[in-house]
């Protein structure tokens, strides 16, 4: 369905390290734990997919990394980009990083554009703002980038956002986000509101960013099959926690956490097997393993919170990972981690 992308085979460096990131929102009903103790690394030139259902906290996580959360959010943990902790930076420094170093592709491409500005200026705007380039030269570059994403001919660049289709708007948005050649692109449900065919195209374009622009992609989605087709690694989120992380192919083919397994069972090709029960609230999440009330393999141990545990690689997969040429550091995080007592 989606173009498969094999893991990169050359030496890679870590560019983003999220450690123990927790986000909560105090409300009158109690504190909403939108994300709890999230840790992951993002490597250079890789696509990491964060998969989870509505309200599991995946979008909050993205906003927390770029510090776009509303003022009442309580954030703890660290997000190290380069050698700096993004959560410690001043507002001025972080806004310099937003867009130029880390950029974001939003949901709903049609609404994310200013309806009163022509497409070319829309795409060129970050150049004028961040790099201080003249309008003319940035327009020229914008055109180049737009063409590389298939936006050419018919004066598309002279049009306004509402004159373009959703797919074109999405491509324009991707162009805007890569124009400053950022090192990380965070895509929050980039296919929401698009038709199947358009969604596939948008994903193809997003995944081409890795090769063309040398950026890493943090892809936030609820679509498990799309994530497995596009991403190198995948993290499954449930109720504010990462429950499983590992190479996409492994997580998808052989999910270890009961939730990932159940999620896979919901896929159309597996016959729409619903998960019993409903998603827990983030205000009073279940104690212990957050999935235990819905889990079919619940044991007494599940009442206590399981830590992230590394999983020993099975022999069939070890060869593949060896080939991906991880440094020692990388090796450690290539390894699968699962938050379940049984694994």
């Amino acid at each position: 369905m989606y173009p498969g992308i094999s893991p990169e085979k050359h030496q890679q460096r870590r560019i983003l390290k999220v450690e123990g990131l927790s986000v909560s929102f105090p409300t009158t009903l109690g504190s909403v734990m939108a994300a709890q103790d999230i840790s992951f690394d993002l490597w250079e030139k890789e696509i990491l997919a964060l998969v989870g259902e509505t309200g599991c906290g995946k979008s909050v996580l993205a906003s927390a990394i770029l510090r776009l959360l509303p003022g009442n959010a309580v954030v703890s943990g660290s997000v190290v980009f380069g050698d700096r902790d993004l959560l410690c930076l001043s507002e001025k420094d972080i806004s310099r990083i937003r867009g130029s170093q880390i950029s974001m592709v939003f949901q709903n491409p049609t609404l994310a554009h200013n309806p009163l500005i022509r497409m070319e200026d829309q795409i060129a705007e970050p150049l004028c703002v961040h790099r201080g380039r003249s309008k003319k030269s940035s327009r020229k570059l914008a055109e180049k980038v737009a063409i590389s994403f298939g936006l050419e001919g018919g004066g598309i660049l002279k049009m306004y956002p509402f004159e373009l289709s959703g797919g074109m708007n999405q491509r324009a948005m991707i162009s805007t986000s890569v124009i400053l050649s950022p090192r990380i692109i965070i895509a929050d449900e980039p296919t929401k509101g698009l038709d199947d065919a358009l969604a596939r195209q948008a994903i193809r374009e997003l995944s081409s960013i890795k090769e063309q622009w040398g950026a890493s992609l943090l892809l936030i989605t609820h679509d498990l099959s799309m994530a497995s087709a596009v991403s190198d690694r995948m993290a499954v989120m449930y109720c504010g926690q990462i429950v499983e992380i590992g190479l996409s192919s492994e997580v998808f083919e052989n999910p270890l956490h009961p939730y990932s397994r159940a999620l896979k069972g919901c896929l159309p090709e597996n016959g729409y097997n619903p998960i019993p029960g409903s998603s827990p609230s983030l205000i009073q999440p279940p104690s212990g393993c957050r999935y235990h009330p819905r889990c079919s393999q619940m044991t007494a141990l599940c009442k206590e919170a399981p830590p992230m545990m590394a999983v020993a690689k099975s022999s069939s997969n070890s060869k593949k990972i060896g080939m991906s040429g991880c440094s020692d550091d990388r090796h450690e995080s290539c390894g699968r981690q699962v938050r379940c007592w049984r694994c």
């Binding site: 009158t28 504190s31 003022g71 703890s76």
Partner: protein
């Protein structure tokens, strides 16, 4: 107090509660003990939550005017028609002095609040009722009904209103009831337009379509599905209508077209103007009614703004 909260004067009671719990929730992550794990997203907020002070002020002012109007016979120091020595400056006997006929100005002022409030609320009630009804019907039924009702609205919009009121007030028996009725019958147009556009928007939502396909009657849909969802537009609109009706009443009375047999603030200024109060510098004669007009209008407008703000707030939350 719950009623006040309902009306939005304690704007974000929610957020004030949030402030309290925030301190406890901002824990340091035990996993990473360095400074990086400290909570950095706390932002200074002022005071005990941010309840809408202007709204509260408006409500208090308004309540005092309401009190004045409803218990004027008890509050007023003397009968406003009783004559004392004329042109007395403010002093112990008469706090705000007396006018050319020797009437106590403070008592006149207190009795005058009645007219102002009755005209303001009467006209606003009538115009809001008419406007809401017409807006709802034309927005919900669309098509021919819409064209006819909006055509009528356009005609009413074209009428020069204040001159018409002046002419009618001059010919009909001038009474403040008549003024309220006239204002109400002329001022529903803008309400109708706002309500119509909001209704058009709401009726395209799928729950309306759903109710229609379930076989609910149109009246049921209009009053139980559409109306509650546009109520938040109606209330501020109503309050602003009250304010402008109060000003209009004062202007008409000032022009001498009001009810001469009733004490009203506009009429007081009119008398002060025509009988030499301005020229001779009897400031206690014309200044208090002017101030009262301004304050009462201000109080209503402040309440309207507070309500509007609350709606923006809820819209943002949703």
């Amino acid at each position: 107090m719950a009623g006040l909260q309902e009306l939005g004067f304690f704007n974000s009671a929610r957020s004030s509660g949030q402030q309290a719990t925030k301190r406890e929730a901002g824990t340091v992550n035990p996993g990473t003990g360095d400074a990086a794990s400290m909570n950095r997203h706390e932002r200074g907020h002022f005071g005990p939550g941010s309840f809408s002070f202007p709204g509260f002020l408006g409500l208090m002012l308004f309540l005092s005017f309401l009190l004045m109007a409803s218990f004027s016979f008890a509050i007023a120091p003397c009968d406003p028609w009783v004559r004392f020595q004329p042109f007395l400056p403010p002093g112990w006997g008469h706090f705000l002095g007396t006018n050319d006929l020797g009437n106590d100005i403070l008592s006149e002022l207190i009795y005058g609040s009645k007219v102002s409030l009755i005209v303001g609320f009467g006209a606003a009630l009538l115009s809001t009722f008419l406007g809401t009804l017409i807006g709802l019907l034309s927005g919900y039924y669309k098509g021919l009904v819409d064209e006819i009702l909006m055509g009528i609205t356009d005609i009413f919009l074209m009428i020069p209103q204040i001159p018409l009121i002046i002419v009618l007030a001059a010919f009909l028996k001038p009474s403040f009831w008549m003024v309220a009725l006239l204002l109400g019958c002329l001022w529903w147009t803008s309400t109708a337009r706002v309500i119509r556009s909001k209704t058009l928007q709401i009726r395209e939502m799928s729950f309306i379509e759903g109710s229609r396909s379930m076989g609910f009657s149109d009246l049921h849909i209009i009053f139980s599905d559409v109306l509650p969802n546009i109520f938040y537009v109606i209330l501020p609109k109503f309050l602003l209508a009250v304010a402008s009706a109060m000003i209009a009443e004062a202007s008409i009375s000032f022009l001498g077209l009001g009810d001469a047999s009733m004490k009203s603030w506009g009429m007081m200024i009119n008398f002060a103007f025509t009988r030499g109060g301005f020229i001779n510098g009897y400031w206690w004669w014309y200044l208090p009614p002017g101030l009262c007009i301004s304050l009462s209008v201000l109080s209503v407008i402040l309440m309207g703004f507070a309500l509007e703000e609350r709606d923006l707030e809820t819209e943002r939350i949703e």
